[in-house]
Amino acid sequence: MPAVKSLEELRKLREEAIQKRKAKTTSGDVQITVAMGTCGIAAGARDTMRAVLDEIEANNLTGVIVKQTGCIGLCELEPIVMVEIGGQPKVTYGKVNVERARQIMKEHVVGGKVLSEYVIQSA
């Protein structure tokens, strides 16, 4: 069984991705960070991150970088997701379950509207 489906397929994907960069679907560079400490994982952060990635895949959003971080000391508000779009201030969302993650992707990342009811800190 090969380690990857096929490297040939990846080569094609790489060229397509480079082409698509010229027509970005999001408004500026987007960075999404999911907190993945023990507290976050226990609260469901893996599935939250999965929902973020599934939205990127389903809506073909290019130019979005998804990263992880550890515990940020707000364990009771996990899963925590941070969204940074271009030069705008970072927005930190708390208790981001799968449903909220999908909503954040649709309304904030694509739509540009901060979902203030879920924000725990904006700095």
Partner: protein, 192 residues
């Protein structure tokens, strides 16, 4: 934690925190010996003997934001309640290997869970780390290595939609096929 795969994710996050550049994850389901073994091996900064001895104590953690680390003690308790054990070998500058073993058929053993989802989150979320998975179910094996994928993509990020689909499908298919090929009575053992 409700899945072993979530424990694997948690332990692997420790490796990242220890500045690992390469992390090997292994899962072996041996139905004939009735054992399930997982391990996470990294090339991070490692721990000295005293830290290794104390790391299963819930009042030891390297984190500074909160004083109590529960990941390893939780996994140790889970393994020991299933006729298993947890072992850590580590040396400063040489990395850490954590291994946990369970009686596969034990009534209290939590399910393996979404192993593909765990690898997917790690590979995409920590793109600068080289992740490998070695999954074995009896005689069937599946191996995944993020190294060649990263190399092929160059500066194209892993979070591009088409790349995400590629990684997700590779992991899901590879793990599912391994489970199917692994053992004729795999399904029975899983539901036991």
């Amino acid at each position: 934690m409700r899945e072993l795969a979530l424990h694997i994710l948690d332990i692997a996050e420790n490796s990242v925190a220890a500045q690992a550049r390469r992390v090997e994850i292994g899962v072996e389901e041996d139905l004939h010996r009735d054992r399930l073994r997982i391990w996470v091996k990294d090339d991070g900064h490692g721990m000295d003997e005293e830290m290794v001895a104390r790391v299963t104590d819930p009042f030891v953690t390297s984190r500074t934001t909160r004083k109590v680390g529960l990941g390893i003690p939780l996994l140790k308790a889970a393994a020991e309640s299933c006729n298993g054990h947890l072992r850590i070998s580590s040396a400063i500058g040489r990395g850490t290997c954590l291994e946990a073993e369970f009686q596969h058929s034990h009534i209290d053993r939590m399910p393996l869970g979404d192993l593909a989802g765990t690898l997917y989150a790690l590979v995409v979320g920590w793109p600068d780390v080289r992740w490998t998975l070695r999954y074995r179910v009896n005689d069937a094996t599946y191996e995944f290595d993020s190294g060649p994928i990263k190399q092929e993509l160059g500066d194209v990020p892993l979070s591009e939609p088409a790349v995400l689909a590629f990684i997700r499908e590779s992991l899901q298919q590879g793990i599912a096929e391994c489970q199917q090929n692994g053992a004729e009575f795999y399904g029975i053992a899983q539901s036991a």
